[in-house]
Every structure is written in structure tokens, then in C-alpha cells.
Symmetry: C2
Subunit: 423 residues, 2 copies
């Protein structure tokens, strides 16, 4: 690098004026480099450097020089300087200084917030997580699918749906590709995945929820039981973390995060066993009998983390949505539904689906859903439906857990919640 | 393969009863294999075979035997047969026979339609096209982004928007990630791509339009002019076609399509030149002065196809959306906006964007847009915006053109149009 002629373009991250000498720290996507403007060496260039304001877009040509004193042990001796894009002053928020603006200010000025190297790293990491995840399924001959976002009815009943006016007709934004990916099992697609969006009109502001969720959905046919589905989830998550640890080494360093890839098999415990651990080790009983709740998942996460297991499955959740298969005679779990908990947070839910039409109809009736509303889905069970299962994994949650963020919104470029529709 | 013991599961594609001998053609994702049930060899199994109906899901264990008379030169001598999933009779549409149901019937019963090998091939091809396209950008260090689907305002003004009720507030489904990907250029993201959905409430039923569109969007900063953007589009499309020709060789054969990868540079002609060719060679003048229209694109497609160029660029379209850069002094084109036409259909539109705040404001005013409505976007131009450009490519159109389909809906699993909200 020493002596190399370069042209670099980026933002004026910091400007220091030492009287007769001006340092401009130029920031681009890769990092920063310091350019040195000396009055006694090139007065014209030095004068031009005085015009540069913080966060201006500039282009500098010059020679790289090794230097012990400079950040990154090198600096740029400029031969030309051009201001490509002016930044108004004052800035709406700080980029270079370590002043923590509150989250609302940061999200309001997201284009400035995203300039901060530690924020940028989150989205480079996110990109690598998604790339690696898809790579696993591409390599294993899954078909990448796109299902509709606008539907006549939600996949999971009427609650928490965003209404859309569809050419004068009432419609809703999709909560999940559940019904569509099951229909594709009836269509002989065998193995599918989708990177899509789920819309949930939850009127709550927690660190785990947003209104637009990036989901990674998987479905596969001709399975024996839920273990086949868990195998896919376990193997693909391990692959994703391994690949991301390599591709995003710089991002993880910027974030100060050590990403450990779980080498051993993920523990698979029953729902009852999970409740027992909570009661016996933490004297904690989740309020709802059919759930582990957020605190319970966190405590279980600690329990398994101590044993070297950041990820584990809980199998056999009681009565959930109609499409999950309930226990068959001889099953050792209460149902064929599971959750994957990663670093103390529910990351994915899945299981074997009910493919027996009579049992499915009984479950739909019990849930109080009008079969007419999902007749297009029920039709696909009548003409040869193979046994199948799958899961949905929250990509925003995956980013949150890997990057160790305090809120799922931190891992979304432009999050949507009950109070936020812009930017 | 000869003599191999196998277990195969799939659908009973065809059943032929020859008196004392029954042939069942089993179909799975990979293809078909014929199983032979002989009464005089195994009566019990033969009886069971009589219970199998067309499109039942079945599992057969047995031995593979080479056979000149069998389709694919091999057949299966079964040792066991299980009916996993019954199909009601009559079937809602034919899967194995060459009866062309009309499009409405096929889309109504899409889960059956998708069982047909020639329809399945379209979606295997589509998956490979998207996989290859993303691969190009992953390899070239683009960041994979996800921008919001629900927005306060459309990217391109008020027309053709689907209204959403967002926690009691009026909002719209996104027409394009345009404003967001530009904001990310201000955020220093440099090179981004998104595989997403665009929603257009166009009340027209053509072979080119649907209401939910799969889009591939790209944006890059620090460009010289639109040529840099066209280079990316050209190189990525060539890579995508090359890779897909390899990965989807079977699908292309099933579809009877020969995919030729354009080796030579894509021609880049001006808008005026395009109009001149239409006038002089085809005596055709598009009705609108600022457009080439569908027929014009088709004729130009023929013109260039004859010269061995399935893809070409038309540069310098007159006054379009505010975010396109108009011609600068000395430019040889009327604007910096281009279209990519592939096999006679507009596949992508893009160009250099206006990054000068004053010129941008003038264009916004001229288009009659209230700057207040997009203030979140305009803010990002005030604090250091680099020159940038990009494009949006219609993935459904790409599938249509590569698979040589007569309608864009044929390449979408569950298409949405003014008359179709289910399945």
C-alpha cells in the first residue's frame, strides 16, 4: 500500500484543524483513512480543505503513506480534493461522536444513523446471514418460492390483520405464507423456502415485535415426523452461522460480538421437561399453562447456554393453530409442534402439519374458523396430500440475537410499528 | 440402477389395467417411473394396486429393472405398496392428460395445475433465475436489503396505490423501493440489491401486468453516469442466464426452450434512434411521443434479435419521474434514463438519479407532488448525497421471457389481478 496512488470517495467523518495543518478523516463503506493537508506544502489544496464540512461527500486523490501516528497506520497525502455533495450544518444527528441519540431520533434520521460504522455493520451482517441461509437451501435443491402478500383471509384467523382495499373488495396483508406453502406440498413441490414479509397489526411496543417482519419459511413433504423438520432447521442454522462467522468477521469485530457456532447437536426437550426445569431450577412458573413466555425462554436459554448450548428445541406445545398435527397414538410428546430457542429468544416455530382431512376439519371447527373462508386451502387436501411439515424463522430476530441488539428494530433498516410509518 | 432396491413416494400419474397386469406410473419431483403389478406373481399386491386411484399419494418399495418397453427404459418390480393420501374422484382438472384447461380453471385449481411437469419446470427455472441473480450481487459485495412494504406515500405519486389501514391511519402498499434505496446511498451503503414485491393497483388485464410484482432492485453510488448502471445490469443478466442454462437444463428441456446467452455487448441506442428504426424499417410510429409502447418494443426486439442481440438498451427517454436525472450539458442523450428490452419486452428501467437538491425540487414541483409528503426522502439529500443510479427489473417478466410464456401470470405461483384474490 505504501506509495500507492489512489482515489477515494466518501464522507468527511472528522475534521481537525491544527493551525497550518488540517486532518480530514474520510469514511467509506470499508472504513476510514486520514488525509493530511499542509498549508506550507500546497496552499491551494489546504484552502480547499477549509471549505470541507463534516459529512460532506468528498473525493481525494493522493498517495498512501505508512505512518505510525495515523489511525490504521497509514495516511493519505492528497494531490486533489473535490467536494461532491455538500452537507448542511448543523447535522440532524451525530455520526462520528460517541453521543448516543435516543432511538426515536436515530430512526427519524435513519439515513444519518446508518452512516455510523457500528450500525452499518449490523446490515452487512444481516445481508450475510440471509445470503448464507438461502445458500444452504439452494445447495439442497429447495425451490425458492414467492407467495402472495395480499390475501382474502389471514393464515391464522382474523386477529391482528391489516385491512387492504383491493379493487373495492376487502382483503388483508398476509400474516404468514403457511397456507400457500402447504398447498405447494399438495402440488408436489416437496421442498420449498421463501424469504418474505409477514404483516402483524399487533398494537404492542416490545423489544421483540414489529409490524413488518422478515420471515424465512420452509416446508417439506414425505416426512416421518417433526424430527425431520428440526433436522433441516438445525443443519441450516449451523451452516448459516458458520458461513456468516467467516463472511462477516469484520462486522462482528466492529460490533464487538463473538459468534460461537454450536458444534454439538441442539438439545431437544419436551414442553413438560422445559416447565420442570423452570420450576425446579428457577422456581418459575409461566402464567399461561400452554406457554413458556418470554421470561421462561430467557431462563431456559441461560440453563442451556451454561451447558454450551446456545440453541435448543422445545417439542410438544399444547393445542396451537389448526394446521399443527396433534400427538398420534404412541407419541412421546403432547403434539408435533416445536419452537427453536436461540440465546434465550424464540427464533422459529414449526412442526408436522395435519394432513388428514377429518382431523383438520375438526381442528378448524374448534378454532371457530369458517371453512368457507379457507376453502381454496382445504381443497388441496382432497386430491392426494402427502405428510409434511415446516417452520417459520424470524430473520429480524436472528439478526438481533447474532448481533446482540437490545431491540429487534435495531436490525431493521426502516422498521414499522404502531407509532412509526416513516421514514 | 438395474437390480437396485428402492422406495419411491409420489402421485399416481397414470394407471393402466391390462387384465391380470396393472401399470402404475408414479410421478415425483424428479420425473416418473412405471411400477408393474402382476396378478400371477403377487395377488395380494395386485389387489392393492386395484385400490389406487389417479393422483393418490402412494409409496412403492421394490427393485429397479431395465426394460426397453418401459418409459425411461426402466421399471419398478414392487414388493410393497402403500396409499398415503387418497385423491377424491373426479379430479377438479386433468394432470396427466394433454387436455388444456382454460387459464381461469387452472389458476383456480393451481395446486393441481402445478403438478403438471411442464408447469413445475417453470417454477424450478424461476427459482434458479433468482438464485443466480442474487449470487452475482452477493459475489460482488452488494448488500441484500429489505425495505418497507407499507408506506405513507407511493414512490411514484398517488396513482395506482392500494390503500391500507395502518392502526387507524391511511397508508399505502409500496409501488417500488425507489425512495428507500436512494436514501441508502445517502447512508453510505454504496451498493445494494433487493428482491421484493411491488404493488400496483392497475385496473387492466394484460399479458404483462399483475397487481403483485416480484421486483429485483439495484442501486449504486459514486457512478460517472448511466453507463455504469447499464454495465451492472448487463453483466448480472448475462451471469444469470449462463448459470440458469446450466442449473435448469432439465427444466428448459421440459419446456422445449433453448436459452441462448448473449455473448456480445448489448447494443445501447438512443431513444431517437429507436424511433427512427421503427419509422424507417417498420413504418411504425408509437402513439405517444415520449414512449415506444408495447408494439414498438416488440418490433425493436425483432430488429435486434435478427442481428443476434436478444437484449439491448434504449437510452434517453424523455421526462419521466422526478428522481431520474435529465440530460446535463454536453450529454448525447435527452436524459439519463434507460430501458432494457429483452426478447421484445421491457424488462428493466433505470438510470442515473438526480442528486442535486435544487434540480430535484424543481422536478418534484413540476410533477405536482407536495414536497411535504416525501420530506423524509428529501432530507437525505441535504447532508451529503453522492451521485448514484440504479434500476428495477421485473422478475416475473424475466421468467416469462426465458420460459417463453404467453402471459406473465404463468410464471407466478398464485398471481393477483383485478379479478383474482384467491387462491
Amino acid at each position: 500500500m505504501d506509495g500507492e496512488e489512489v482515489a477515494v470517495a466518501g464522507w468527511a467523518h472528522e475534521i481537525r484543524d491544527l493551525g497550518g495543518i488540517t486532518f480530514i478523516l474520510l469514511r467509506d463503506r470499508e472504513g476510514t483513512i486520514q488525509a493530511v493537508f499542509k498549508e506550507d506544502e500546497n496552499e491551494e489544496l489546504f484552502e480547499k480543505a477549509q471549505e470541507v464540512g463534516r459529512e460532506d461527500v468528498i473525493m481525494i486523490e493522493g498517495t498512501v503513506k505508512e505512518s505510525d501516528q495515523a489511525p490504521g497506520d497509514r495516511e493519505l497525502m492528497p494531490t486533489s480534493l473535490e467536494i461532491i455533495g455538500d452537507a448542511e450544518q448543523p447535522l440532524p444527528m451525530e455520526v462520528s461522536k460517541d453521543i448516543d441519540s435516543d432511538r426515536a431520533t436515530r430512526l427519524d434520521n435513519r439515513f444519518m444513523d446508518l452512516r455510523r460504522p457500528e450500525i452499518h455493520a449490523i446490515f452487512s451482517l444481516r445481508s450475510h446471514l440471509i445470503e448464507s441461509m438461502e445458500e444452504y437451501f439452494d445447495k439442497n435443491d429447495y425451490i425458492n418460492i414467492q407467495t402472495p402478500n395480499i390475501a382474502k383471509m389471514g393464515a391464522e384467523g382474523g386477529a391482528e390483520l391489516f385491512p387492504v382495499v383491493y379493487y373495492g373488495e376487502e382483503a388483508f396483508l398476509s400474516q404468514s405464507p403457511q397456507l400457500y406453502k402447504q398447498m405447494l406440498m399438495a402440488a408436489g413441490f416437496d421442498k420449498v423456502y421463501e424469504t418474505g414479509t409477514a404483516f402483524r397489526a399487533e398494537n404492542s411496543n416490545t423489544s421483540r415485535h414489529v409490524s413488518e417482519i422478515s420471515m424465512f419459511d420452509v416446508e417439506l413433504a414425505f416426512i416421518e415426523d417433526q424430527d425431520d423438520v428440526m433436522d433441516v432447521l438445525e443443519n441450516s442454522l449451523r451452516y448459516t452461522l458458520e458461513e456468516t462467522a467467516k463472511k462477516s468477521a469484520d462486522d462482528l469485530e466492529e460490533l464487538g460480538v463473538e459468534l460461537t457456532v454450536p458444534e454439538e447437536d441442539f438439545p431437544r426437550i419436551s414442553f413438560e421437561e422445559a416447565r420442570r426445569i423452570l420450576k425446579e431450577e428457577y422456581d418459575y412458573e409461566p402464567a399461561e399453562e400452554d406457554d413458556l413466555d418470554t421470561k421462561g425462554e430467557k431462563l431456559l436459554g441461560e440453563h442451556f447456554e451454561e451447558q454450551g448450548h446456545p440453541a435448543f428445541f422445545v417439542i410438544g406445545y399444547p393445542g396451537e393453530k389448526f394446521y399443527y398435527m396433534e400427538a398420534r397414538e404412541g407419541d412421546k410428546y403432547g403434539s408435533r409442534r416445536f419452537d427453536l430457542i436461540y440465546k434465550g429468544l424464540e427464533l422459529a416455530s414449526g412442526g408436522q402439519r395435519e394432513h388428514d382431512m377429518d382431523k383438520l376439519m375438526a381442528a378448524i371447527e374448534e378454532e371457530g374458523i369458517d371453512p368457507e373462508d379457507i376453502s381454496f386451502y382445504l381443497e388441496s387436501f382432497k386430491f392426494g396430500m402427502p405428510p409434511h411439515g415446516g417452520y417459520g424463522l424470524g430473520l429480524d430476530r436472528l439478526v438481533r440475537q447474532v448481533a446482540e441488539l437490545d431491540n429487534v428494530k435495531e436490525g431493521i433498516l426502516f422498521p414499522r410499528d404502531p407509532d412509526r410509518l416513516t421514514p
